[in-house]
Assembly symmetry: C2
Amino acid sequence: MKNKKEINSGIIIIGNEILSGRTQDTNTGTLSLWLNSLGIKVLEVRVIPDIEKNIINTVNELRKKYNYVFTTGGIGPTHDDITASSISKAFNIKYGPHKEAMSILRKYYKSGEFSEGRQKMAWMPITAKLILNPTSGAPGFQIKNVFCLPGVPSILKSMLGGIDHKLTGGIPILTHTINLRTVESEIAKSLAKVQHNNKEVEIGSYPFFRAGKLGVSIVLRSNDKTKIENCNLQIIKFVKEKNIEIIERD
Amino acid sequence: MKNKKEINSGIIIIGNEILSGRTQDTNTGTLSLWLNSLGIKVLEVRVIPDIEKNIINTVNELRKKYNYVFTTGGIGPTHDDITASSISKAFNIKYGPHKEAMSILRKYYKSGEFSEGRQKMAWMPITAKLILNPTSGAPGFQIKNVFCLPGVPSILKSMLGGIDHKLTGGIPILTHTINLRTVESEIAKSLAKVQHNNKEVEIGSYPFFRAGKLGVSIVLRSNDKTKIENCNLQIIKFVKEKNIEIIERD
């Protein structure tokens, strides 16, 4: 299924609060939907703690492996926000007050309110490109193919619009879903055959419960509309032969 | 903060549906809360696609790195469920019908309903230990320090009670949260000092919005109650000096 024009990415969620179970991560979903809409596949997500060595190693591993890497979390003003200094070390770039970021934050805060704590949010790899933050002032930053974003979901979301134009997307990945009133084991064999005959369509099968009833969502994914349509026809064919009900959902 | 008795773990979430953004993962949160309650730290989570090579490599890497590894997803009856066969390869154990699992499923389904599709759910590394499934019959399995669980959140949850006794927990990790009506930059410096003086307590700082107001949750984590209490006192001290309101939450 490897395509010449496949553009891929990895996501690094940085934060002890996710690993302790205290906070439910939603940034993976936000970033994945957004990246897929741009034709950029997400091939891996890693959730790691706020530990410098882990951040450096993970960033250095993934940035060589994927076209783009996105990190979330750890760019606030407190002692446990060590993403910016760790990324500086990963790229061997000086960590210090970023001129443009300082200027943005100086304007954002009232005179006299630009405290030492707030100034820390302008500390980052000094040659980084900024990612503007329309919600709360403090910018994210980009070095080469690595984009560093905040962990607060609403702020992260507000910043994605400022990154689109910096990314080279692939062919958008198209999706088609068929919902059936059945169980997976009933269709497993037929579906495997269809997958075998349609190698360039990724066919996923996901059981669900809804209003006390079982069902299965079949999800077709490909960057070729015709291939999805052909694959869909072959599935509908065996579904009708088996007298399985097709249901509307969502 | 490394402790002699620290027991750690890694989680592997297997499934294209998470990476496409179609499905919001909640299994990480479920497993993390459960493991932390047993005194087992989660040091890493990886979300990977349903690709054999990725599953083999990730499992083999993490099982050497951590005391325990938990996988979720990919153990159903359809063609995209390749976790069991991949894990067999990772451990170099024959993949085939597991005697005990076959016997469980044969009893679970009515006579004549134990179809080929359903039988696939009993295929796994043939020497695996089973993890019983009180919800829907098909068991998970364990090989050495790797525990393979299903992806459907409600089924996964129902199976955890059957694993507790197989795990050697560490000293339970205790947590104390202080919620403040302030912003992070206001307390960053004082908090950093407290962290410096309390190296064996992990202090996290998490901004929140609630009912239109900003606040910060400070989370103290340690396996030593006295150390948490001392740390708490030092935080309360500077909070009072700064006239910051302590708020009740949850």
